[in-house]
């Protein structure tokens, strides 16, 4: 199931080793390159990955999150238009779905927000939570969701 493409984009991404040490969420060089994620979407993605990683018990640090975002950014830049649109819908939806910006919340509140969407009555929000967790599962390696899906949102 889709393992190869997921691994490929992680493994083929040039990891920006020189970026280690930057504070979490800081826009990094390269993020604004043509076709890449906007800094705002990158912040949302990073916040999403951190939330899912923590909920999943995955070990991570700021450097890893940056590497994950770099890998994702490179993959996104080369993705077909329809896939990019799905990514954008998801990240923008996550960021703006609550009363507070998602990337500005604490991780605990972010997880609570995802949980609330997942278990709420809004089909849109349920779909958004699913898409968000799927998206955030990207850095965690094969197979799809093997790790991320152990989280019961």
């Amino acid at each position: 199931m889709a393992q190869v493409s997921r691994r490929k984009f992680i493994q083929s991404s040039a990891l920006a080793a020189g970026l280690a040490g930057l504070p979490l969420g800081t826009p990094v060089a390269g993020a604004a390159k043509s076709g890449g994620l906007s800094p705002a979407r990158r912040r949302t993605f990073t916040a999403l990955v951190a939330t899912v990683a923590e909920a999943n018990g995955t070990r991570f640090d700021a450097a890893y999150l940056r590497q994950a975002a770099d890998g994702f950014d490179g993959w996104y830049a080369g993705a077909p238009r329809e896939t990019r649109e799905l990514v954008e819908r998801t990240l923008d939806g996550v960021e703006g779905n609550g009363s507070q910006r998602f990337s500005g919340m604490s991780r605990r509140r972010r997880l609570a927000a995802l949980h609330g969407w997942r278990h709420g009555r809004s089909r849109h929000a349920q779909g958004l939570a699913y898409d968000a967790v799927t998206l955030a599962g990207s850095p965690f390696g094969p197979p799809p969701f093997a790790n991320a899906s152990t989280m019961d949102l």
Binding site: A2, A79, S138
Partner: protein, 388 residues
């Protein structure tokens, strides 16, 4: 010519407790039926279904409140089992035939509990892979537990007994991409470098799992169909983390022969066909190559003279090979369907996922957050005739 190619919608593996691809949710059952598919494939994660070893919660109590743990909700234990039961029953009540695949292994069963995160990393990824990107602990084969009396055998017994009432309208697929997802694929390195290739071992494990299922099924009079193999169709050199199906299939057949695997028509060889579709491969496709590898050797469905293969996962994932946009995605799926309808031995054609997914973007429909409407591939898939 392959007559009456079966059409199968393969739902996503996150299907528990009301998730998006849960058959009970979002009108999914009706959406499957609307495609004209007669088969639907759903997943059961062993690691989530059986939270504790039998010594703590007997197999007879898996569907009771004893099989529960804080934080799981409907995503694990007895509620998860009931969610799967309900999806199977719902599909059958609607006239759909069901394939249920058991996926992953509980950590209490495979010896990974309490291990450091990078344990056996040479079997799980490259020397430079971040720990978080290694194959998961839930993908480790429960070595020593694959026999009929082992944890794996008891789990298969439980599954067969639980769903045997559905007879031949039910297929249990007992493994998922063992040549790609499971570990270890190879034995220890012969040198001081643990990443150096060792002897192939995945073939022995696959064969043992198949033979265990056969013994259990035989003891019960083969009440349901059993899918085996389920190999990913990726090419490339064998390594410590993956085995080309062109190695995996014949080597597994070698091991089955050594075990004296008898004629068992209810056992079906399964295969994934992403590459055939996404690369628009002409005949002989990798699916057809699999049929040929089985010819003269396979003792399951079709027998050695006319081996049959069910394609149980596949699709055209946007962004992969020739699947450059939605229109091309639909064309590729149609092209492969046309090819498979004339391919000897091929009896099932799948499409993976109901909804779009950024990484496995082969879904029939847009995401629910985008309204969930049909994509061109859905229209193409729906147009395929399927009577079985």
């Amino acid at each position: 010519m392959a007559a009456d190619l079966r059409k199968c919608v393969v739902m996503g593996p996150i299907n528990h407790g009301g998730d998006v691809e849960d058959l009970r949710m979002n009108g999914n059952l009706d959406k499957v039926r609307a495609t004209g598919a007669r088969w639907v494939k759903i997943w059961i994660r062993w690691d989530k279904a059986q939270l504790f070893p039998p010594s703590r919660v007997p197999m007879s109590s898996l569907d009771t409140a004893a099989n529960d743990a804080p934080g799981y909700g409907a995503g694990g234990g007895f509620r998860y089992i009931r969610a799967i039961d309900e999806q199977v029953a719902l599909a059958r009540s609607a006239g759909l035939k069901v394939m249920l695949i058991t996926w992953l292994f509980p950590r209490w069963a495979n010896g990974t509990e309490g291990r450091p995160a990078d344990w056996m990393r040479h079997d799980r990824g490259s020397a430079t892979a971040p720990v978080a990107n290694l194959k998961s602990f839930e993908q480790r084969i429960p070595i020593g537990q694959l026999g009929t009396g082992g944890y794996y055998g008891r789990w298969l017994s439980w599954l067969i007994d639980r769903y045997r009432r559905y007879g031949q309208s039910f297929a249990l697929e007992i493994m998922n991409e063992p040549n790609l997802q499971m570990w270890p694929q190879q034995g220890p390195s012969p040198s001081a470098d643990p990443y150096q290739q060792g002897p192939l071992v995945i073939d022995s494990y696959i064969a043992q799992m198949i033979d265990t299922a056969r013994q259990l099924s035989s003891a019960r009079g083969h009440p349901i169909r059993i899918g085996v193999g389920g190999m990913a169709d990726a090419f490339g050199a064998d390594s410590r983390t993956r085995t080309n199906f062109q190695t995996g299939v014949p080597r597994t057949l070698d091991r089955l022969a050594a075990r004296g695997f008898p004629s068992t028509p209810s056992f079906i060889w399964t295969h994934h066909n992403y590459s055939d579709i996404e690369r628009d491969l002409p005949s002989p496709t990798r699916a057809e190559m699999t049929v040929e590898m089985l010819r003269g050797r396979w003792r399951g469905r079709g027998g050695s003279t006319d081996p049959r293969v069910w394609l149980t996962e596949g699709g055209a994932r946007l962004g992969t090979q020739q699947a450059t946009d939605l229109a091309r995605q639909a064309q590729l799926v149609k092209s492969s369907w046309d090819r498979m309808t004339t391919a000897p031995g091929i009896e099932m054609f799948p499409n993976y996922l109901m909804y779009e997914n950024p990484y496995a973007n082969s879904g029939l429909r847009y995401s629910l957050a985008a309204g969930g409407g049909p994509r061109p591939v859905c229209d193409a898939f729906t147009a395929f005739p399927s009577r079985v």
